[in-house]
Amino acid sequence: MTDAARDVAAREDDERVGLAATNAQRGFWLLIAIGVLVFVLLASIAIGSKDIPLPTVIDALFNYNDSDDHAIIMALRVPRTVLGLGVGIALGLSGALIQALTRNPLADPGILGVNAGASFFVTLAVGLFGFTSISSYIWFAFLGAILATVLVYAIGSVGRGAATPIRLTLAGVAISAVLSGVQSGLELLNPATFDAMRFWRAGSLTAPGYDNIVVAAPFLAIGLVLAIVATRPLNAIALGDDLAASLGANITRTRVTVVISVTLLAGAATAAAGPIVFIGLMIPHIARWLIGADQRWIAALTIVLSPVLLLSADIIGRVVMRPGELQVGIVTAFVGAPVLILLARRRKVSGL
C-alpha cells in the first residue's frame, strides 16, 4: 500500500470508530453475542471430564433423579457454570469501568489494588493464621480487596480536589507493589504458604456447590447496579473533566460510584475464583472495537462477552488434559490473547 492510500484508509477508520456504525448494527452484534453466550452456557453444562450423553444432560436439568450422572450435572457443572457467568460479568464490567475512568488502556480491575489486597490477605490467612480450606479464603480475599482499594482511594484523593484518574492509577501501582512485595516475602520464607498460593493464584471455578456464589452474589448485584448508573456520565468524562463538568456530569460522584462498583465486582470475583485479570483487560478493548466508544454499549457487550471468554476457557481447561484439569486462569490468556492480537492488527485500533 502506498503512503497516500494508507493515510486514506487510516482516516476512514478514524471516522468509523467502531465496526458498527449505527445502533441497529450495534444491536445486531449484541444479539449475536447473546446467542454465543447461550451456546457456551449450555456447552459448559454438557461438556466435562466425564462423558455424559446429551439426552442425559437434558434429563438431569428437567427430570432429576439421584443417578451419578445427574448429580455431576446439578451439583458440579451447573454451579460451576453459574459461578463462571457471575465472575465473568464482574471481571469484564469492572475492567470496562476502570479503563473508562482512568482513560488508560493498560488499566485492569487490579489497578486499584483489588488483586494485590486479595492475594495479600489470602497469604496472611494461609501463612499466619493457618487456614487451609478454599471456602475460608473467600472472606479474607474480599476483605483484602476492599481495604486495599480504600487505601488506594485515600492516597489518591489526599489534598485539594478529588482523586484524579492518574493519581488513582499511580497510587494503585504503589500500594499493589508494597502489598505484593510483603506477600512474596512471606511466601518465600514459608514453603507451605508458597505451595498454597501458587495454586490459588492460577484462578479456578472449581469451588464445589453454590457456597462461593452465595457469598459473592449480593456484592456482584450491587456492583452491577452501580456500574449501570455510572456508564452515562462516563461518556461525558471521556471528553475530559472540564467539558464533562460543563455538560452537567458530576465528576466526583461518578468517580466514587465507579470505584465502589469496581471494588465490589472485582473484589467479589477475585474472592470467588482467584485473580484472573486478563478478562477485564481484554474484553473492553474488543467491545470498543466492535461497537464504538459509547460506554453504555461497551458495558452491555462486555457483560455478554466476558462470561463467553471465561466459560470457553473453563470448558477447554476441562477437556485438554483429561482426566486432569487445567485451571481456568491459565487457559483464559491462551484463548483470549490471540483474538486480542488479531483484532489489534486487523484495524487501526481506537485509543481511549
Binding site: 488508560n104 488502556p105 493519581r167 499511580l170 507493589a177 514453603p191 492480537i341
Partner: protein, 354 residues
C-alpha cells in the same frame, strides 16, 4: 568561548547550554535536574558505603575507604573489595540501568505504566528462566542465557506482531498485553507442575536477587553497560519530539520510526543485562522515572535523573535486603518493590498536598 553558558531562551526554569567544538555539538542542560541527580547520586554512594561497612564482620568507614584505595590489611581487602564491593556496586549500576530503561519505555509509550514489560520482556525472560530451571535443571549461566533468549524472542515477537507499516504506541501496548498474559499463564502452569523446592528456587530468581555477585560479573555487566548507557543518551535526544506525536516529530526532522526502534532495542538491552545478571528486579524501572520526574519537577521523564534515582533505589534496597532481617537474606526484588512503593505513595501524597 565558554564551555557552559546561560541559555538565551527562557525555558521557564534554570537552563544552561553546553557548547563543544565551537558550537558544533550543543546540549541544553536542565540545571535543576543536574543538581537533583548529583545530590541523589551522592546519597546513593553514601548508602553504598554504609552497606560496605556492615555485615557479620563490621568494618569502620575509614577502613572501607582505605580498602577501596588499596590500603588495608589482606583480610579487610578481601571482605570489602572481593565480597561486598561487587554486590554493592552492581546494585547502583544496575539500578541506574533499570531507571534509564524505564524512562525510555515510559516516554515511548507516553504512559506512566510503561516499562520493558510492556513489550513482554520480563514475562518472556521469566519463561526462559523457568524452562531452564524447572525443565532442563540448568546452572547459573544457563539460566541467564535462557532468560535472555526468552526475553529477547518475546520482545521481538511483540514488536513484529505490532508492526503494520510502522509501530504505533497503542498497538504495541495491546499486543504486549496479549503476549505477556499468555506467558504469565504459562509461567503459572510451570510453577504449579514443578516440585515445591524447584518452584521456590525459580520464584526467588523471579523476584530478582543480588546474592552471589562476583568481581567477574561486575566486570561483565560494566563492559556491556559502558556501551549501552551512552547509546541510550545519544539515541534519546529526540525523545521529547517523539512524545509530541509522530507527525509533529517528523515535521521537526526526526525519523520517528527508526528512533523508536533504536530506543526499544537499547531499552530492552539495558533490562536484559540486568535480568541476565540478577533476575527481573521488580519495580525500579517503573518507579524510578516517576520519582525522578517529581523530584526534578519536570514535565516529562528524563534519563539522567531516572538513572540516579534508580541507583539510589536499588542501593537502599540492597542494604535493607542484607541487613533488615539478618541473618535471613531477602531477595532484593522484594525490598525494591516495598520501599519503592511506599516512597512513591508518599511522594504522590506530598505532591497532592501543595
Amino acid at each position: 568561548m565558554s564551555l557552559i553558558g546561560p541559555s538565551k531562551i527562557d525555558f521557564g526554569r534554570p537552563t544552561g547550554i553546553l557548547n563543544l567544538w565551537g558550537g558544533r555539538l550543543t546540549q541544553r542542560l536542565d540545571l535543576r535536574a543536574l543538581l537533583v541527580s548529583a545530590v541523589v547520586v551522592a546519597i546513593a554512594i553514601a548508602v553504598a558505603l554504609v552497606t560496605l561497612t556492615s555485615g557479620e564482620f563490621q568494618i569502620a568507614v575509614p577502613e572501607v575507604v582505605g580498602a577501596l584505595f588499596g590500603q588495608a590489611t589482606a583480610k579487610v581487602h578481601m571482605v570489602v573489595v572481593e565480597w561486598r564491593l561487587p554486590r554493592t556496586s552492581l546494585a547502583l549500576i544496575m539500578g541506574a540501568a533499570l531507571g534509564i530503561s524505564g524512562a525510555i519505555f515510559q516516554s515511548l509509550t507516553r504512559n506512566p505504566l510503561g516499562s520493558p514489560d510492556v513489550i513482554g520482556f520480563d514475562s518472556g525472560a521469566y519463561t526462559g528462566a523457568l524452562i531452564v530451571i524447572i525443565v532442563l535443571k540448568g546452572t547459573f549461566y544457563a539460566v541467564a542465557g535462557g532468560a535472555l533468549l526468552g526475553g529477547i524472542i518475546t520482545a521481538l515477537v511483540v514488536y513484529l506482531l505490532a508492526w503494520r507499516g510502522g509501530v504505533q504506541g497503542f498497538r504495541l501496548i495491546i499486543v504486549g498485553i496479549g503476549i505477556s498474559a499468555m506467558l504469565n499463564s504459562f509461567n503459572t502452569y510451570l510453577l504449579i507442575r514443578a516440585d515445591l523446592e524447584v518452584a521456590m528456587a525459580a520464584a526467588i530468581w523471579g523476584v530478582g536477587s543480588l546474592n552471589g555477585m562476583t568481581l567477574e560479573r561486575l566486570a561483565q555487566v560494566c563492559a556491556v553497560l559502558a556501551v549501552l548507557v551512552p547509546a541510550a543518551f545519544f539515541i534519546s535526544r529526540p525523545m521529547r519530539q517523539i512524545e509530541m506525536g509522530d507527525d509533529a516529530a517528523r515535521s521537526l526532522g526526526v525519523n520517528a520510526e527508526w528512533t523508536r526502534l533504536a530506543m526499544t532495542i537499547v531499552g530492552v538491552a539495558l533490562t536484559a543485562t540486568v535480568t541476565a545478571a540478577a533476575g527481573p528486579i521488580a519495580f525500579v524501572a517503573l518507579a524510578a522515572p516517576q520519582i525522578a520526574m517529581r523530584l526534578t519537577k519536570s514535565a516529562g521523564v528524563a534519563l539522567l535523573p531516572s538513572a540516579a534515582t534508580g541507583a539510589l533505589l536499588l542501593g537502599v534496597a540492597d542494604c535493607l535486603a542484607q541487613r533488615a532481617f539478618a541473618p535471613t537474606q531477602l531477595p532484593v526484588g522484594i525490598v525494591t518493590i516495598c520501599i519503592g512503593g511506599l516512597y512513591f505513595a508518599w511522594l504522590l501524597m506530598r505532591e497532592a498536598r501543595r
